[in-house]
């Protein structure tokens, strides 16, 4: 990889020899960067503590405000009450938010296309390159990138923690959506590196919640002297940008992730659906000729009114929306809950689909589930609650978890565990065994995708597969590594590629090439490949490649590789000879 994320020099400090020290100061902090809200938590020696900012908020709005020469993020939110940023300021075009939806995405991505209605500039060319993002400063668009915005935000978070702890912090555990590709994960790591943070672990959000649940279950067990019965929990997390499900089996403080599933729907989509419903010519308002100052203003007003209405609909059957959007545009409507649910039907169906998929992947039926845990801001929507509980055939959800603070608390727990902290009272006697959220494999048999590590494999994982040449005397073979659920390589994310050269001349199908994939607990993927038959002096040394090697997420690379080399460097899956 081109960028060096880590200061490698002292990386080994956090592992191995320094383990035993109780007072080891470099305990990783837990950070939950949400699409709309962020929070940070630390292990303070005996429990997890959520930090509050100067305005004593635990959940801080995720945005970065661009002013003349100053940048300020939502952590401090304008520092004092008098200068506090109002929602109106945030929506004025000079603040960038929703970076978690934009980070590491190409401009052909539908999530990026949907983000064009945001009150700052998201310019797309629609050819599969990074979108251009800019904030309005003094009536001028100033460019930035999602990574930069995130880094500024993280920097403020880090300052907040350091102020609280009175010593520098370096390591962090961040939560990410299940649907994040490995490329997006590298972007998060990049943003952290820009903010001077080393990513110890990236945890899918529901697995962080699962860890917190494991801790609670263990404490419960200690209190009642219960036996270590295995408990199955389904965790459903829906925030502003993403929706994830995990099924975990918990016993004795070990949370074993049985299955993961996620998709990119969330509160933002719900919000946009409702705005579109309220204002039928909404698209023409925001799409034509990009945002201008008064358009941004009316969009901001509409957004605020809609948000408010959605919040009210969680407790009321209907609500009235009255908003003057300026320019003679007015919205006044009575929105009922039924209408709201009708408008967002597609989103609820998507949630339903991933829950069903997750359950079938875990090979469990709703009857097997002991607890349903609902977390995330949008889990308060009555329809979503009833949908999840209905699918799991449960009367009520698990109550002793805070729906907004669970993920960050879990991340802080994992941070303490992975930093080697032990707790005499046993409240850190925990472990999370993660699973891979997506299939990992290589392109083979033409455009096919051969999955080497299937999804929901326990991490750390190592699998290998044998491949063979497709041409006589083929001297080189291309290993193109993909990640995703598609049967065809092109439907998946390309992570990287490399060539195996110097294959000894042999008729096609005679050579055996082994490709081995290894994921360690830090979720680093390494691919090993080389010729295993015939062996001898003439065979080239093996290759070890750390993935992803790609520097940008656009899909051109895969197409270019296919066009350039076609079947010349193709590999075929070698059928297994033995069936143990």
């Amino acid at each position: 990889m081109a960028e060096q994320f880590y200061t490698v020099a002292s990386d080994s400090e956090t592992t191995g020899d320094d383990k035993a020290q109780q007072s080891f100061p470099d305990v990783a902090i837990g950070i939950d960067i949400g699409t709309s809200r962020c929070s940070v938590a630390i292990w303070n020696g005996h429990q997890v503590e959520l930090l509050k900012n100067t305005r004593s908020q635990k959940g801080m709005r995720s945005y970065v405000m661009f002013k003349d020469d100053t940048l300020s993020a939502g952590v401090t939110g304008g520092a004092t009450k008098e200068h506090a940023h109002e929602e109106r300021d945030i929506l004025s075009g000079s603040a960038i938010f929703n970076m978690k939806r934009l980070i590491g995405r190409m401009d052909t991505d539908e999530v990026v296309q949907a983000s064009k209605t945001l009150p700052f500039l998201v310019q797309t060319l629609g050819i599969g390159v990074r979108p251009f993002i800019a904030a309005l400063v003094n009536n001028m668009w100033r460019s930035t990138t999602p990574e930069e915005v995130l880094a500024i935000f993280l920097l403020e978070l880090k300052a907040l923690v350091e102020m609280h702890l009175k010593h520098p912090v370096r390591n962090a555990v961040l939560t990410i959506p299940v649907a994040f590709s490995r490329f997006q994960q590298t972007r998060i790591e990049r943003a952290c590196a820009m903010a001077g943070l080393h990513v110890l672990r990236l945890m899918p959000e529901p697995t962080a919640v699962a860890l917190l649940y494991a801790q609670q279950q263990q404490q419960l067990m200690q209190d009642n002297m219960g036996s270590g019965i295995e408990k199955i929990a389904l965790i459903f997390n829906i925030g502003a940008g993403y929706c994830d499900v995990a099924v975990s089996a918990t016993a004795g403080g070990v949370s074993q992730i049985r299955a993961l599933a996620g998709c990119t729907v969330g509160g933002e989509d719900i919000l946009q659906n409702v705005m579109r419903h309220l204002l039928p010519d909404y698209d023409s308002l925001c799409d034509n000729a990009g945002p201008t100052t008064d358009r941004i203003k009316s969009m901001g007003l509409l957004r605020m009114a809609t948000q408010d209405a959605i919040h009210k609909l969680a407790s009321q059957e209907s609500t009235e929306i009255n908003a003057d959007l300026g320019n003679g545009l007015k919205v006044s409507k009575l929105l009922s809950r039924a209408e709201f649910e009708q408008v967002n039907q597609a989103i609820f169906e998507k949630c339903e689909r991933i829950i069903k998929q997750c359950l079938s992947d875990a090979k469990l039926t709703p009857e097997d589930i002991n607890d349903v845990i609902l977390v995330g801001g949008c889990s308060r929507i009555p329809k979503i609650r009833s949908l999840v509980l209905g699918l799991c055939k449960k009367g009520d959800s698990y109550g002793s978890i805070d729906d907004l603070e669970a993920a960050v608390s879990g991340a802080a727990l994992e941070g303490a565990i992975a930093s080697g902290v032990t707790d005499p009272s046993g409240s850190l006697d925990l472990l999370t065994i993660q699973a891979t959220p997506m299939n990992l494999g290589i392109r083979a048999d033409g455009d096919g995708f051969a999955a080497i590590i299937p999804r929901n494999t326990a991490v750390p994982a190592r699998r290998d597969m044998l491949f063979t040449t497709t041409q006589d005397n083929q001297a080189e073979a291309l290993i193109a590594v993909y990640e995703g659920e598609g049967e065809q390589a092109e439907e998946n994310h390309l992570l990287g590629y490399f060539k195996i050269t110097g294959i000894p001349p042999a008729p096609k199908g005679a050579v055996e090439i082994s490709v081995c994939m290894d994921i360690d607990a830090g979720n680093v993927l390494r691919v090993f490949a080389g010729v295993v038959k015939p062996q001898g002096e003439a065979t080239p040394p093996f290759m070890e490649v750390r993935m992803p090697t790609l520097d940008d997420g656009h899909g051109w690379c895969g197409q270019a590789l296919a066009k350039m080399y076609g079947s010349k460097l193709d590999l075929a899956v070698l059928p297994k000879k033995l069936h143990p």
Binding site: C516, F542, L578
Partner: protein, 300 residues
């Protein structure tokens, strides 16, 4: 298992050192990545189920519950989150063992387990020898009936062959444990030519047959353990038998569902009744006996 990836990585390493000195190699492989010396790549195929039970430290007849508990306990010691990077390989092995064993035990629980009594029971389809590196089409097999226990092969290729002092014969411990040349020398050195190259697909059966088998007992006669005289013939017979069984099972599987449903309500009732009678009979007997006794008592 000294493996295939380690040798490769090591040779790669060596080249680097030669070319640019050890300083460079330190740079290339900083301390953190020392475990990139991956020891063995294809662990999955080389192990027998017995090895996995050993990894988890549970008995071969353990229930899924016991396997789960052992797995969690060991993961809590060896997972890299707790043990640091050095726990990587161990955690990998645990994950693998857990997956294989849970798969097989859930299969058993589902009632798909094949129980073969008598001769040939206990065949798992896995070989006893492990593989160094990936599975190849050819494998080594020692005909232990012919082996005279001369230790020549162990001497020439000690990583591959091992001596069983109890049985007094050599066997293959690790397939391709040594370089091919050494193995070839070892094969040729055998004075009775009892080391054979066989197809890998025949290997599990051959290795299974080569082990002493429990003999089918008839009354007080027979029983005990024996090893087939001609392993190759026995293996052929056994695989034919396996095939036949599998065919039968698949055909039974195809119309098995109908067979199950063919039981009528009356039959089910009868079965239930019979079961109940069996269970309560002894009690009835006691009751009746009591009655008799009482009766006789009053008579007296």
């Amino acid at each position: 298992m000294a493996g295939f990836f380690s040798t490769c990585a090591a040779s790669d390493h060596y080249c680097l050192q030669l070319r640019s000195g050890s300083a460079h190699h330190e740079l290339i492989r900083p301390n953190k990545y020392r475990r990139t010396m991956i020891r063995c790549c294809s662990t999955a195929k080389g192990k027998t189920r017995r090895d996995y039970y050993q990894v988890l430290g549970v008995a071969t007849h353990s229930t899924p519950q016991e396997i789960k508990e052992a797995y969690r306990k060991l993961q809590k010691q060896h997972h890299p989150d707790i043990a640091g990077d050095k726990g990587h390989d161990h955690a990998l092995l645990l994950n693998e063992a857990y997956e294989v064993l849970m798969r097989s035990s859930s299969r058993k629980a589902d009632g798909f387990g094949k129980s073969r009594g008598g001769f040939g029971s206990g065949y798992t389809g896995d070989g006893y020898s492990s593989w160094n590196g990936p599975i190849r089409s050819q494998a080594l097999f020692v005909d232990e009936n012919k082996c005279i226990g001369c230790r020549e092969c162990v001497h020439h290729a000690g990583e591959t062959f091992a001596m069983d002092d109890v049985l007094g014969s050599a066997h293959v411990e690790v397939q391709f444990g040594d370089v091919e040349q050494q193995i070839q020398v070892a094969v040729e050195s055998c004075p009775v030519n009892c080391i054979h190259w066989v197809g890998s697909e025949e290997l599990p059966v051959l290795e299974f047959m080569a082990r002493p088998q429990p003999k089918e007992g008839h009354g007080v006669f027979g029983g005990g353990w024996e090893r087939p005289k001609d392993v190759f013939a026995a293996a052929r017979n056994f695989s034919r038998k396996l095939e036949k069984q599998e065919r039968q099972e698949s055909s039974r599987g195809a119309n098995g569902g109908e067979d199950m449903e063919a039981e009528t309500a009356a039959q089910a009732e009868a079965r239930r009744h019979a079961g109940q009678e069996l269970r309560w009979k002894s009690l009835f007997d006691v009751w009746n006996g009591l009655g008799d006794w009482r009766k006789s008592g009053t008579d007296r």
